[in-house]
């Protein structure tokens, strides 16, 4: 079988699977989309052009999908800097509830989304691999979907849309708030594409880095949707090294 045929088969299977899931659970449709994972990255690593650039990316993708009538915000925090107070991702995204491409509710409100109480946190929100869809309704490829030795290589990943890319930039702690200012968790507030000189992963002195989460809730030893672990750096190639491409969560605030 040719590679193209295999890929077509994989696509067909995932479409069938998605359809089955909807039919089986009778997921309600028709509710307008107010949440999505970006179908593509900005492409310059952790340099998103700041919060404004990231919001514009959300807005543009939403508009292209026919959802540009709302105000969209990227789920990103920034850290405290001289003259620029910190911003919490959770304070940027409105009050909810938020619905995905299929009209399935991701979370009722901020407390549900973040698990603000231990009871809420134990049950979790409704963001998972089947609901963490892009603005086009696509499932975000994650672990084990399509293993390839080069799926940590940007040159391969950028032309292979079904390869693992499940790390979403957030720069946030588990509660949706920013990290303290001393170490970088936000690629210098989303303006940097630099990499640390020393190899390694996660935050540390002189380590440009971004905190990420998993829409498929599978990875990093925990599956946190918004704060699982750090990256190896802020360049596009560094993001890919741990199976991300610089995707964002986008929420409509109205």
């Amino acid at each position: 079988m040719s590679k193209a045929l295999i890929h077509a088969a994989i696509l067909a299977l995932s479409l069938l699977a998605a359809a089955t899931a909807r039919a089986q659970h009778g997921m309600p449709g028709g509710t307008p989309m107010t949440f999505f994972v970006t179908s593509k990255p900005i492409g310059d690593g952790g340099n998103l052009g700041g919060l404004a650039g990231a919001d514009a990316h959300c807005q543009n993708l939403a508009a292209a999908a026919g959802a540009g009538g709302r105000t969209w915000r990227a789920y990103l925090s920034t850290q405290d800097r001289p003259g620029a107070p910190a911003v919490s991702a959770r304070d940027r995204i409105g009050a909810g509830p938020w619905y995905n491409f299929d009209g399935v509710m991701i979370a009722r409100d901020l407390a549900h989304l973040h698990g603000d109480t231990i009871e809420l946190a134990r049950l979790g929100n409704n963001l998972n691999k089947r609901t963490g869809l892009t603005e086009k309704g696509q499932i975000v490829p994650g672990l084990n979907d399509y293993k390839h030795p080069r799926d940590t290589d940007w040159e391969y990943v950028k032309t292979t849309p079904y390869s693992n890319r499940h790390e979403v930039l957030t720069g946030s702690q588990l509660d949706g708030r920013e990290f303290p200012p001393d170490l970088d968790y936000t690629c210098e507030n989303w303006t940097s594409n630099r990499d640390p000189e020393a190899p390694g992963m996660g935050a540390g002195p002189n380590r440009p880095n971004a905190q990420i989460g998993f829409p498929d809730r599978n990875g990093g030893g925990n599956g946190s949707w918004n704060s699982s672990h750090g990256t190896t750096g802020c360049s596009q190639t560094a993001l890919v090294r741990t199976h991300g491409v610089g995707m964002l969560y986008c929420f409509a605030i109205n």
């Binding site: 946190a121 049950l123 998972n128 080069r150």
Partner: protein, 244 residues
């Protein structure tokens, strides 16, 4: 000519192999041939139900089912317990699932030797993490996932989006913290002896369904017969943990 073609192909393979080693080894591309002996498995989902709905023959019947399946998979040398709670009855105190399973950490059925040697040293289940004993642990989550919650044969358990029947409802009879319910309603199919009246609390092995992600306490079944379990999204499977 055939010989030439073959040697060219082999040559390309060697080039590919050389290229591959230039990339950092991501954790997902480990060779499948490095299986840990299955006796090192300390957690699995039952590959088959007992088959009589919520009547498991009590905790002892469920434990025996875990032990039998483990033995058939070459892991009978350990002591296995079903992750199930029972509710208090006259003269019979409640039993918490979390208190039955030892202390862990637990490793899943397809753990690879290289997982331990390389980047997945932390790929295990920890008791406090799977139950969210602190707010941070509850928010962060654990390794419990569809890819982790495999049968003793190392197979996936059909979940949302997979071919029917869905098998992801895991009998637990437990609250999200792994303890028994304390109200008067039935959450354990009469302490795992009923195949008719009653209800059982279930979790989802794929962490999908009912608007939450709970692996151990997502919703109640509509009844305790095998048909009731099937109509709720399961076939009567449960989690097994090794206590030693």
């Amino acid at each position: 000519m055939r010989t030439v073609t073959v040697s060219i192909s082999l040559g390309s393979l060697f080039v590919l192999a050389a290229v591959n080693t230039a990339f950092a080894q991501p954790p997902d591309m480990l060779p499948d041939s490095e299986d840990v002996p299955s006796s090192l498995m300390t957690f699995f989902v039952t590959s088959a139900p007992i088959g009589d709905g919520g009547n498991l023959g009590g905790l002892s019947g469920a434990d025996a089912h875990c032990q039998d399946l483990a033995r058939a998979a070459g892991a009978g040398g350990k002591t296995w317990r079903a992750y199930l709670s029972t509710q208090a009855r006259p003269g019979q105190p409640a039993v918490n699932a979390r208190d039955r399973i030892g202390e862990g950490p637990w490793y899943y059925p397809r753990a690879k030797l290289l997982d331990y040697l390389n980047r997945r040293l932390d790929r295990s289940l920890h008791k406090s993490q799977i139950h969210g004993d602190t707010l941070e642990e509850a928010q962060r989550g654990s390794n419990m996932s569809k890819e982790f919650a495999l049968t003793e044969k190392g197979e996936y358990v059909n979940g949302v989006g997979d071919p029917l029947p869905t098998r992801h409802d895991m009998l637990t009879g437990s609250l999200p913290d792994g303890r028994a319910f304390t109200d008067d309603a039935d959450h354990t199919c009469n302490n795992w002896t009923s195949n008719g009246a009653g209800s059982a609390q279930v979790g989802h092995s794929d962490r999908i369904g009912n608007g939450n992600q709970s692996w151990n306490s997502s919703h109640a079944t509509t009844g305790c017969s095998q048909e009731d379990l099937i109509s709720s999204g399961g076939i009567g499977l449960f989690y097994c943990f090794a206590v030693d």
